[in-house]
Amino acid sequence: MTPTLSVRNLRVEIPTRRGVLTAIDDLSFDIAPGEVLGMVGESGAGKSITGSAIIGLLEPPGRVAGGEIRLAGERIDHLPPERMRHVRGRRIGMIFQDPLTSLNPLYRIGEQLVETILTHERLSGRAARDKAQRLLEEVGIPAAAERLSAYPHQFSGGMRQRVVIALALAADPQLVIADEPTTALDVSVQAQIIALLKRLCADRGASVMLITHDMGVIAETADRVCVLYAGRLAEIGPVRDVVKHPQHPYTEGLMAAIPSLAGDPDEKLAQIPGSMPRLGAIPPGCAFNPRCDFAFDRCRAERPDAYPAGATQAACFLHDATSAPPPEIAGRASEAGIRLVRAPAETGR
């Protein structure tokens, strides 16, 4: 079955006056029809840029410098602008973080909905208005008929995001990219919005790329998750496996850093020492190696591909059959739960 979205070796570059920065480096992943893929990483890891690249809205001078992006088998990464415009909205929808600034404050909600509907469908004005009202009802706005003539600032944050979702889904896209959809909302409302998004997409058979830095949201909502680090893939796999048995030292560190109610309240919160490198200062070899507990020589020299690591794939030499990590490191990694491709006992001593 053709994946809804297929990204291969994506490379996004940003030329600056000090040289070319590589914001996304050799990223590959798929999203199956109806699947929810979570895209996680720290601020600056490249999650939003990936989303923008896919929908063709990279801010200049950023550009897609390599790789392929395929939507249901067709290449979309270098379409002429007018054809890409037809893809946007109709086949790929995108929602952004802040619902207040996502909506034009000078136009009524109904006007903005009708405009979007009529861009993609030939309908009469009456029919478009009816559809707009149905959309509002579907996203759970009470008294939808009257709310059509309201302005964005007359809605609360959560309601506004519902409107945004209605707008993004108005033309029934196959893929919905949600860039931090709940970060700007109250905690009490976040769960509702996520659930709404998931339900609506499931009803329509649409795939979702859910970009967030909140692992909790991912754990609840996503089917698979992709972990980004410094513009590169760290780990990708089914949510349960990545969360419970992370196979990349970075993912493992992320999971360990999440405080748990069950943990000892006096125990210090675990932290990964150091910070993610800036785009202009990525170390040679594996980007994570300066902060990694299990780094060895090869990590500092070469860049790892994504190797199969049980149920997931991890870009770490610990999972490369041709690697030979020092036994001490191998031992510690094993204890941390990382299932090396060769057990320490097999290093032939």
Binding site: I14, P15, T16, R17, R18, L21, A23, S43, G44, G46, S48, I49, E59, P60, P61, G62, G231, R278, L279, G280, A281
Partner: protein, 326 residues
């Protein structure tokens, strides 16, 4: 200018923190600095900076480098009047840009005139800056009634254009001082009137910064250990606000020069005995129709070039110091 956005790129172009270690020397860091970078990369800015420098220096050293002294009646001869520029057929090589109705060398009058224009311009901007910054500090720190009053006055004043205010102050000064003593204080009045029309921008900017800083914890801490509030404001707030103030000052300088020129042209500026560029243009205007165009056009061009160069510098400075565009 390359338009880079996103946290990624912004983080990447921040000054290198290899300085966390030994760090490169001051010169290297200066070269690396964003402001210098955009300065040297923009040819227009370089040219305007050079032009401004040349004009300012020639104005400063006018008495030394002017080929003639246009204000010494002994050196003037009515026989020398109305010479066109030296490169035209009827010109005289002694007077490069021609002479006016009294035999004064235009080049020399321009040099001296620029001096006056720049002097008044700088003085008024300085006055406006000191007044505005002080009032802004007071309004921001003291708050309450002082703040309200100052801001009210600022609002009222902002509804009127600078030229009107300057004219008004000038007229009143004229009436109060009487025609004779007015001549003595005319420069002071000019600086005062132009400066008074510009203080508001400084005050608002500084007040804004003070309000931001006032609520920060280090200010509270400083007050707790007994530092006087004025010291805090001067030591902490002023450095932060220096950048925007400088931008305002540069843009103001061009406007101040233009305002002074306008006032002089209208006849309510500097007296004809010490003409600025504006006065020269006014004098020359009378001869425009009878064909002696050079008397007004050359000072006009000088004024235009000066204002343009300063404006360009101000534009560049504003873009270079604007954190949003970096």
């Amino acid at each position: 200018m390359p338009y880079v956005t996103g946290e990624e790129a912004r983080a990447a172009t921040a000054p290198s923190d290899a300085a966390a270690g030994r760090g490169p020397g001051l010169l290297a860091r200066l070269r690396d600095n964003d402001v210098w970078f955009s300065f040297t990369r923009s040819p227009i800015t370089l040219v305007s900076a050079i032009v401004t420098l040349v004009l300012v220096l020639s104005a400063l050293f006018a008495p030394l480098i002017a080929p003639h002294d246009p204000f010494d009646p002994a050196t003037l001869s009515i026989m020398d009047s109305f010479y066109p520029p030296a490169w035209t057929g009827e010109g005289d090589p002694r007077f490069l840009l021609g002479t006016d109705d009294q035999g004064r060398d235009i080049l020399s009058t321009i040099l001296h005139g620029m001096r006056i224009s720049l002097a008044v311009g700088f003085a008024s901007v300085l006055f406006a800056m000191v007044l505005g910054v002080t009032l802004g500090l007071l309004a921001g720190y003291l708050g309450g009634v002082v703040d309200s009053v100052i801001m009210r006055v600022a609002d009222v004043q902002l509804t009127f254009p600078a030229i009107l205010i300057a004219l008004l102050i000038d007229g009143v000064a004229r009436g109060v001082a009487g025609p004779n003593s007015y001549q003595d204080i005319v420069f002071g009045v000019l600086v005062l009137s132009i400066g008074l029309s510009f203080w508001v921008q400084y005050a608002r900017t500084v007040r804004g910064s003070v309000l931001v800083e006032k609520n920060k914890e280090y200010v509270l801490a400083a007050r707790l250990i007994g530092l006087r509030p004025w010291t805090i404001m001067v030591k902490h707030v002023l450095p932060n606000v220096l950048g925007p103030v400088l931008v305002i000052a540069t843009i103001n300088l061009a406007l101040a020069i233009i305002t002074e020129a306008t006032l002089s042209f209208l006849g309510v500026g500097v007296p004809p005995t010490q003409p600025s560029l504006g006065t020269l243009i006014r004098i020359g205007n009378d001869f425009l129709f009878s064909g002696e165009w050079w008397i007004t056009i050359f000072p006009g061009i000088t004024l235009a070039v000066l204002a343009l160069a300063v404006n360009l510098l101000g534009d560049w400075l504003r873009d270079a110091l604007n954190p949003k565009l970096r």
